[in-house]
Subunit: 337 residues, 4 copies
């Protein structure tokens, strides 16, 4: 039974606590903390977990085998570094950190530790449909991949959603996904701005993000965040001999009112509910069995930050922006195999 401490008991933290305590196998939540001590006390009390005053204190709790970081983005770096310093595995919700520099400090700390401790919360790698897509590509049945067409559509976004977030919060999932899908880094990005969607007020929406991978694969991503009809994640990989497309949940088709209709998920929670479960279950099993996480690494968190930053610059300037990463530490090169 893996004993997990959760830093951050807001919406995401509470959802993960629900998952760890009522859905997943082989794990218990033994400690919690939050900047809002009342919330932490309430949540901790309901599940019988120790409530700590700070994240650092939680990390130091001997009843905590591994740490889940669900706090506000700007605090991720300090808690991840604290966990590494304590030699404890840490699952950090995206982003790994809010700057590339901070990510690099984490890479250094982990390299100094000498083995992987960090996993970053990019959950698409755990989605059944993306996994089936990757299996189709890796099987060779469509030949060498050449292009990918993606769409990332939200019915709506909250009022605090600002322009850069279309890259840093929304398209960042595609950024991580294509790096994993093709086993290659993104080398350049462009962002084109089509006709404006008035549903989003002043927001620059939709966008067309174009990524060039180091091996020449070109990926285009439609990012639409106010398209009303639902949450829709699509992807088609074009190979030399054929293509493979992402399916998704379509449990029922209703013939009614002149149409055959298949429901679209309402939001990302519905679409990726299962992926979140698989993500954390596999993390729990990996930590329990082998000590090292197998999912997205600190390197993946750093690379996603670098591509996101370039995407924001491309959006602001209209230019094609090149991405150059630091040399990949040996620790991650091995894992990439």
């Amino acid at each position: 039974m893996l004993k997990v401490g959760v830093i951050g008991t807001g919406m995401i933290g509470q959802d993960h606590i629900r998952r760890l305590t009522t859905v997943l196998n082989g794990v218990a939540v033994t400690a919690v903390t939050d900047v809002d001590t009342a919330v932490a006390a309430d949540v901790g009390g309901r599940i019988g977990a120790t409530v700590h005053a700070t994240g650092e204190e939680l990390v130091g709790d001997p009843a905590v085998d591994a740490v889940l970081v669900c706090s506000w983005g700007p605090t991720h770096e300090q808690y991840v570094l604290a966990a590494i310093a304590a030699g404890k595995p840490v699952f950090c919700e995206k982003p790994l950190a809010t700057t590339q520099e901070a990510c690099l400090r984490i890479l250094d700390a982990e390299a100094a530790h000498g083995s992987r401790l960090v996993q970053v919360g990019y959950m698409r790698r755990f989605d059944f449909a993306y996994r089936a897509l990757k299996m189709a590509v890796d099987s060779g049945e469509i030949g060498l991949p050449l292009m990918m067409h993606c769409a990332h559509r939200n019915a709506s976004v909250p009022p605090f959603y600002r322009g850069d977030m279309a890259i840093t919060d929304t398209a960042v999932h595609e950024i991580d996904m294509v790096r994993w899908m093709f086993g290659a880094e993104v080398s350049a990005v462009r962002v084109l701005v089509p006709r404006h969607n008035r549903n989003g007020g002043e927001l620059e929406d939709p966008l067309l993000l174009i990524m060039e991978m180091a091996d020449g694969v070109i990926v285009d991503v439609e990012v639409s965040v106010n398209i009303r009809y639902g949450y829709d994640i699509r992807g088609e990989i074009v190979g030399e001999n054929g293509t493979a497309s992402l399916g998704g949940p379509a449990p029922v088709a209703v013939r009614r009112d002149g149409r055959v209709g298949v429901p679209v998920p309402a939001d990302w929670r519905e679409r990726f509910l299962q992926a979140y479960d698989v993500e954390l279950q596999e993390w729990v099993h990996a930590i329990s069995l082998g000590g090292q996480p197998l999912g997205p690494s600190a390197w993946d968190g750093y690379a996603a930050a670098a591509v996101s930053d370039a995407g924001v610059e491309a959006l602001r300037t209209g230019n094609r922006v090149l991405i150059s990463l630091v040399d990949q530490p040996k620790l991650y090169a091995e894992a990439a195999g």
Copy 2:
């Protein structure tokens, strides 16, 4: 240029005249007649066709190479017999005649003539989707066919629609289709009556028609005639190694309001528009080139009548009703190859 005389200028007759004069190649309408002489005069006048007082007179017109019978069902026999007597090809809208006995008189007349003159208007054999389905089955890719599941759905039916018509007017299309699809006769029928659809008032609707083919294939047909959502024709053939299903027109998919929606045709005119064009174009070409029609024969018209009659009896009695046909005249046995 094949010169066609049209008997019956009601709704169906006028639609075929439109087709012959503005859509099809190699054909002209040179003569018309109708029990309502004013309508016949009006229609004939607009297209410059001779207006005859009777069908028999039209058949005898030397400017008529071939005859199209679109009049009221009970009159079909006499006009088809007149055309056979004159040695002129005749396309007769379904049914060939309203009784099996009348059909047999037509078979006898055609046999006496010595070659095929009659084609009956079962248009599904000319539909692109049914043809693709038959090609899939005939290719052997699903193995020997064992079963077929069909649905024949109408959004609504007119007030004069009565119970037997679900068999004689609606399911009769499946009756002809399966005989063609499997190259075998129907040997027995059952009709089951499920829970009642209140959309149709007193009408017995839906029905489940079950046909046993001479070669053991079993076909089930859902007949729903008040299902509101649209006109939907479906079919799946189950073979030893796989199945083949009818597609259909799906030119566009709209993502809107929480659903991916594909439109369903509103009615049979929309669904089978093209099949009617192909049916008559191939008839025109066949008559022009070879003299003999290649589509559904008088035998097919007789067999459909026999199965329909058995279906009505099965509906009325609740029994499994066997069908026995007269021996097939040599004329049709050859054509069936």
Copy 3:
């Protein structure tokens, strides 16, 4: 943490033990037993569970809160009765028992106990697609249901598979499903035997099972058990105003070699993997939280047996066979709400 004892450590038992110990939340396997004591000792040893000489001994173990019966069908009755006698919740793999009389003895025992202890392993009720289908029907969006068309297809069956099993082992899943879907009992069955599939040797395959529900809904089920192309479970419910169809897992579409292809599951394990997880997880939670199971009851097990028996008779005689159930004990009438 619910402590479960597992009776029967064969293929299904081991799969459930894997599920309980590595997938599900809130449960531990504390005891096992099997007629093959060496296997029981081996399985029990690997998970640190007590190994009992008999099922009765396991039921009596104070470290066993609830019992899972995965042994050979003919032994189900005795172990379920033992669990009831001990007042312990018991999950029994299908069938509940091998005769209706045995099922009735279980009903009596449970009624004497006074509350539900038994759940039977019909897992389709826990499948995401069937649940979406039921929600679509219950929402009223297709109107009152009138008919259902089903297909249950297996690529192949093992050599020991005999004719009756097409009803008792295969179609029994549809029998339970339609009772749950429509909240009504099956009142009569017919079985039609189409042309023979030679892939299965002498086996009567495929079959067309027709069920009449007490409320008039008619269900037709194609049972094909040697259709080679894969495992395919299909269902369409026909309502007064539209229809709702079962989707399923279709995570990826591959365009290759002249076709757009969507993979079909290889077998029932792949298709219903998730349903088994949900089934047992919900059972664990229900027992832990409320003491009573919420899934298929002993009554459901009895009714499935009665319809299966009628189905076998219908297959053997070619007749329409009526089903009459004993009066439903109050215990189950309440739960059915």
Copy 4:
């Protein structure tokens, strides 16, 4: 009966002659000519048409009401100008002419004539699926259109196919289509070159063509010309509230060998067979009834040439290339309504 003279009796010319003489209504081919006089004589002989020594002679034939230009591209200008000079309607296969200057000379000639005589052979506007897509967009059901994603895939191309042709012969269909779909001109183009498809040898393939429309709509077009699996034309229009996607012919679905498979057309002939029929039938009817063609105009031919030229420049330079058209003559502005 419209009397048509055909200039050019090569592959396309013969196919159109087959169409005019055996498929379409209300038209006859009365005259032919070709640079290969033996072929012209042979083709003309078989259909009883006058064989002319030159295109100009054919245009002058009083038995020719309208002209079809199917000759080699570089000769289009001279024959179209000859027809305009004679005041005869002329249907010109794409391209209208091989340079923008030549197109402008045709515009001037037609303007001098004072009414539309020219139609250019962009057949997608007559395809049932594109028409359904346009109706969906025009209905407003997805809101104002913002983006369009297209794919234009060929299984293979002939050996003489060179790099520019991916724009000038292949993507030119999308260029015309989007101008028609959105009722706006293309203002800028980019071409990105992904990883190379080795199926095509040295050919630059695939390409990603990005068009910016004057109203801000952005269109991306994948052009793949050696993708082996078939001919596949796809399009999805992204609106403010939803999207509309191109369906296509899918008459049958086959379940076999572990997959549900829907066939893809082999080539453009199969995919657009019906569109060619509709294109010429509507032209014949329009000329017969009103004298003026209603399909793609000389202006459309000129604009397609301008965008194609810019596309070729974009491919060669890697730049975003702006397109500036001459002022649209009043003749076409009216027709655009």
